[in-house]
């Protein structure tokens, strides 16, 4: 068995050490595996994802990426091991799609930032994978929200990392684009053994497209099986008949 891509030990996350959003998370993610994180609003899903990505320090415990403690890695080393797609779209809209995807190569560039042939091919491959080649020279402000989301994903792919962390990547996508996104992620997992962690709202998407589903609610996070409707109902605070899976 190959080493875990992502591993957490008694992880506590949140903003306040005296009242963490969740604690004692033991997690292990193998290459090619997909994990969905679901839970009610404000339960700390995004904060957990950021903590797993090293963008926030854990309140307790630690996160290992490829066997190395993430807090010991420099930003650049981290960016060569994992890609994080945050939820907020703060990117400047006058960037072109290609310029955005090229930024995914930033952690690999030396001083003066010349793109090598390798960098170029990673960019073209990512554009191709997200079907963005025809839009490559369009500005982000001139394309639809869904296309923009794909462009941001392509930037993460251009990083050529073994681990992808996505925060609500489906939020601007219609049904078909959502389906296509998960198909594409499945293909990447199969071809490149890419491991993905995805924060989602939709329980059907979570169970259909992922190996495991981590439910975050009431200060704890645990893997819940699809048929455990009682646990899901309790986590979301709704009657069992409202659980769609």
């Amino acid at each position: 068995m190959s080493a875990a891509v992502l591993h957490s030990e008694s992880l506590a996350w949140g903003y306040d050490a005296s009242a963490p959003l969740g604690r004692d998370l033991q997690l292990e993610l193998e290459p090619g595996e997909a994990l969905a994180i679901v839970g009610p609003n404000g339960a700390g899903k995004s904060t957990l994802l950021r903590t797993l990505a090293g963008a926030r320090a854990p309140l307790d415990g630690r996160v290992l990426v490829g066997g190395q403690d993430i807090s010991a890695l420099s930003l650049e080393q981290r960016a060569r091991r994992l890609a994080l797609l945050p939820q907020d779209e703060a990117v400047d809209l006058d960037l072109t799609v290609r310029e955005l995807v090229q930024l995914g190569r930033t952690p690999y560039l030396g001083a003066f930032g010349r793109l090598s042939r390798d960098d170029q091919s990673a960019v073209e491959e990512a554009l191709e994978a997200c079907e963005l080649a025809p839009l490559a020279s369009r500005a982000l402000g001139e394309i639809s929200g869904g296309e923009r989301q794909r462009a941001r994903l392509a930037m993460c792919l251009a990083q050529r990392v073994p681990l992808l962390l996505l925060d609500e990547p489906t939020s601007h996508l219609d049904l078909r684009r959502r389906y296509e996104l998960f198909e594409q992620l499945a293909a990447l997992r199969a071809e490149r053994e890419l491991a993905v962690v995805v924060v989602l709202h939709d329980l059907v998407d979570a169970y259909d497209a992922h190996d495991r589903v981590l439910v975050v609610a009431d200060g704890e996070a645990r893997v819940v099986a699809r048929d455990d409707r009682e646990a899901l109902a309790r986590a979301f605070g709704v009657p069992e008949k409202r659980i769609p899976v």
Partner: protein
């Protein structure tokens, strides 16, 4: 302004074209434009391989050549500072003069000139004070204009402009206070310097400033790809390995240095750092790897042109160069402001 790149001429071609234009104008400005309007130099002598007469040589070496070179260096420094500030604040209205950075530099220089007798003001004291003042002003403006934690490092237009207004007003008031207490000779020298423009520059000073501007530019060029990543916002920049906060601090220092070098030679010269970056992005897009060389050359060309016009338009009388740049800059600012407020520029 869209990022469409297909129909655009390559950036290196623009850089080369502007470089040639700058060189040509520099030769003309040195040769044909006399400083006081009374002595026209015949600069065809390098072609004829015979030396000019002593008066011409003295004028050339002591006055014209340094002035032409200083104009170019000041223009380049202010343009690169503006390009950098617009990049790191993610706001197209940033300019060393509008943000009060030049004002901060000016204030400290005026203060030291009031405290220290003139001959003691060495070639290094003015740039050093300007540097301290400019860097302080940059840090204060960025701190004031910073939005909440969700602003993603994008400083709002209103925040920046208001912070600039406050810093400028404060610096102007304090400068007036100091000026009012100067004796007539100091007052004359200082007011001339403040009006903006290159009059006399010593070769030593010119050399030091050229080296510093070049060094700052190389440091920026080495970080160009990281500066590009700031367009993603702080969190995504971090996820491609760029520490946005550290880059912002380094940039504030370098923008402060470049502005200070410009101010120490040419006084409070506005709008160069506003106009040039916009033209440059129009020609070459927004990639710092392409815009940094172009801004250097375009800034030199603009300042050299402005300085030549200032000398020629009402010869033998001279206009302050600041008047020319303001005449160009104010309409530019109005257009940009309108675009920002109607939401057609970058979001703020």
């Amino acid at each position: 302004m869209s990022g469409e790149g297909a129909a655009r001429r390559p950036a290196w071609l623009w850089t080369l074209l502007l470089l040639l234009a700058t060189a040509g104008l520099a030769y003309l400005a040195t040769a044909a434009i006399s400083r006081e309007g009374s002595v026209a130099l015949d600069l065809s002598w390098p072609l004829r391989l015979s030396g000019p007469d002593d008066l011409a040589r003295n004028l050339l070496v002591a006055w014209r050549l340094p002035r032409v070179l200083a104009s170019m260096i000041v223009g380049a420094a202010l343009s690169v500072a503006g390009l950098l500030l617009q990049g790191v604040t993610r706001n197209p209205l940033a300019d060393p003069y509008l943000l009060g950075i030049s004002g901060g530099a000016g204030l400290l220089v005026v203060f030291v000139r009031a405290m220290v007798p003139l001959p003691a003001i060495d070639w290094w004291l003015t740039p050093a004070c300007a540097f301290v003042g400019a860097t302080l002003a940059t840090l204060v403006v960025i701190a004031l204009a910073r939005g909440g934690p969700r602003s993603e490092g994008r400083l709002t237009t209103v925040g920046l402009v208001l912070a600039g207004v406050v810093i400028n007003a404060l610096c102007a008031a304090m400068m007036q206070f100091i000026l009012a207490r100067l004796d007539p000779f100091h007052l004359r020298v200082t007011t001339l310097w403040l009006a903006g423009g290159v009059s006399y520059v010593a070769w030593g000073q010119l050399f030091v400033i050229a080296v510093l501007v070049a060094a700052a530019w190389v440091m920026l060029r080495a970080r160009a790809h990281q500066l590009n990543a700031l367009a993603l916002g702080g969190e995504s920049a971090a996820s491609v390995g760029v520490d946005a906060d550290r880059l912002l601090r380094q940039s504030a220092l370098l923008a402060g240095l470049l502005t200070a070098l410009g101010v120490s030679v040419a006084g409070l010269l506005g709008y160069v750092g506003l106009i040039v970056p916009h033209v440059v992005r129009l020609l070459a897009g927004r990639d710092f790897r392409r815009t940094l060389p172009l801004a250097l050359v375009a800034g030199a060309l603009l300042m050299l042109s402005a300085d030549s016009v200032a000398r020629l338009a009402f010869a033998p009388q001279e206009l302050p160069v600041g008047v020319i740049t303001a005449l160009l800059g104010c309409p530019t600012l109005l257009v940009l402001l309108r675009r920002q407020l109607s939401g057609r520029g970058a979001p703020s």
